[in-house]
């Protein structure tokens, strides 16, 4: 396929922009994996399997959307997993102390963005690498978790349990949780912001070339701080969704989640140097991870560590693909 497109690239399907190729490759992979699942296991064709992938990975999806913003500017946010855990911990601890659910929601949703804003400021004003700043943020948030409580805190609040157990479905018995709807809403808002607002276009411009963006008079500093705040907000929402899902806050929950998130974003076709990628691709990336897990669960004989090996292999394949496209069209 690639050899023919080399010679007749322009005539051959002119409507396919090359920046869509990674996303389409992910889509094809997802369909192939789903096809394998359906052909191998009869129960796999049940629509509920797809819904369960969304239910189990709703929080991952939200966090990955935030990470997409950061990676589009060419940065990276390692703190997301810890912020998710911290948000869940804080809400669990406050609910245990009997505070009203509404107040807890507001406070929990404010912590993530605040930390993100501070990290963005450190990155922009002091010119410290995002890697180190968000690493410190990761340590800070994880330390806060154990500072709040060394053990798991169960959530018994009425609002939380209602959100956790509410099933929205059809008479056939297929359902999704409210978390999935929230995740979809976040995805749609993020897609709109990236594609149609000034802020979204600034994000792409900075990722493409920060120097040029600055010379064009774009608010580089403000945008850069904003993307880390957005990522913090998404992590906070993800933390709330996770606490809906598990109905508890545990200090060691979501350890290593940042890797899954980065993997999902990369598999979804976002280029790590920034400037190219879509929220839709990230959704596909998260789905790929979810379907891999489901396949391994369905198989039953494979152990959980195969998930990591497969994700690593997929990461390699997709980066290689991006690289090949990059070389071909440079």
């Amino acid at each position: 396929m690639s050899s023919t497109s080399l010679t007749s690239g322009r005539a051959w399907r002119p409507t396919l922009p090359r920046r869509h190729v990674p996303v389409l490759a992910t889509l094809v992979l997802l369909l192939v994996m789903y096809g394998i699942g359906v052909s191998q296991y009869r129960a796999f064709s049940n629509v509920q399997v797809v819904f369960n992938v969304f239910i189990d990975n709703g929080f991952l999806l939200v966090v990955a959307v935030g990470m997409t913003f950061v990676i589009l500017t060419g940065g990276i946010d390692l703190s997301v997993g810890s912020v998710v855990a911290m948000t869940a911990m804080v809400s669990a601890a406050m609910l245990r102390d009997g505070l009203p659910a509404g107040l807890v929601l507001v406070v929990a949703l404010l912590i993530g963005p605040t930390l993100g804003f501070l990290m963005g400021c450190a990155i922009h004003f002091f010119e410290i690498q995002p890697f180190i700043v968000t690493l410190a943020g990761m340590f800070f948030a994880r330390g806060m978790c154990t500072f709040i409580s060394g053990g798991s805190i169960p959530i018994t609040d009425g609002f939380w349990t209602a959100m956790s157990q509410e099933r929205i479905g059809n008479p056939a018995g297929n359902f999704v949780s409210i978390s999935v709807l929230i995740a979809f809403a976040v995805v749609l808002v993020a897609a709109y912001v990236l594609a149609y607002t000034r802020f979204g276009r600034n994000v792409y411009a900075i990722g493409g070339n920060p120097q040029s963006a600055l010379l064009m008079g774009l608010p580089v500093g403000r945008t850069r701080i904003a993307v880390y705040t957005v990522s913090g907000l998404c992590s906070a929402i993800g933390g709330i969704l996770l606490s809906f899902y598990t109905l508890s806050g545990a200090p060691l929950i979501a350890v290593g989640m940042e890797l899954d998130v980065i993997a999902a974003v990369v598999i979804g076709g976002t280029v790590l140097t920034g400037g190219s990628g879509y929220v839709f691709g990230t959704v596909l990336g998260v789905l790929v991870l979810g379907v891999i897990q489901t396949l391994i669960t369905f198989d039953g004989t494979l152990n959980s560590w195969w998930t990591k090996i497969v994700i690593g292999g997929l990461l390699f394949a997709f980066i290689l693909l991006q690289r090949l496209i990059g070389i071909r069209f440079k």
Partner: protein, 356 residues
Amino acid sequence: MNDTAARLRAVTGHRLFWPALVLVLMLVANTVYRPGFLAVEVKDGHLYGTPIDILRLSAPLILVALGMTLVIATGGIDLSVGSLCAISGAIACLYISKAPDQNSLSTVFTALALALGVALVLGMWNGVLVAVIGIQPIIATLILMVAGRGVAQLVTEGQIITINSGPYRAIGLGHFLTLPLAILIALAAALLVAAFTRRTALGLIVESVGGNAEASRLAGIRSGRIIFLVYVVSAACAAVAGFMMTANVSSADGNAAGLWVELDAILAVVIGGTSLAGGRFSLSGTILGALIIQTLTTTVYAMNISPQTSLLFKAVVVIAVCLIQAPAFRARFARRRSGPTPGPAAPQREKEQVPA
């Protein structure tokens, strides 16, 4: 400009000043809190005491950070070291646990050679990805970081392999000439790396590749080979660190061995004054950084704070050290952008045109 230049000179003159100050402050605070902190005593011909413990426990981190320093000096980063520690430890322990005589020296050396060999192959994989295929280092090594944990668990089959081997245990807990063997190994590795980089042109070449790989290549340096080499060295260092970690507890846990050590190592390197942008490195700074991190951990344990909460302190120290160093960063960037940027860029183009 004059002001920034003066400030720059003042800061670069004391490149190790701030990290050293932080370390001394922490030791002083510890001594005030617990007067017996610095006491060292001789028992059974070995030195014992908290400072010795800090040295012994920081040995794996120093090793990993040494390799990381070289990688970062080329402008790269190696996230896979933690997984490599786990893999090498798992392979060594697996081989020893299967052997009929766990205490035989030949068994232990075969196990070490086998595990080191695998680590070197994995390091070459990283090197090929970065130097030949040209993938961003952070992503290229992320692959092995994610997959490597899976591989380590595959090797141990999800179990914790426990072994009962005296010689292997000695790597982590043994003594030689009254000092812990681990710190001597780390010291030897540091001296070896220092000799190769600072007594030969290798260090300069590594720095020049980090400064500008393309320009170095045009100047006749085989950038690709240097980049490949540093990832292999980093993997070798990580493997030895993995031996120490597993020897310390006489067991290999695919999940927990070397967890987060890559982050600690990167921290140690950054605290030591090596820029993540590459082009400059300080081995002594890295060792100082590793000691700071281990002292911090030990301090937190000694003050009876839960180990996880120690992350809070780590975050504070990292931010403090980075902020202290930040004006220097800014000054360097300002100088690079305003001054010599057109300079090096222009001659570089000329060089390109002359052979063409």
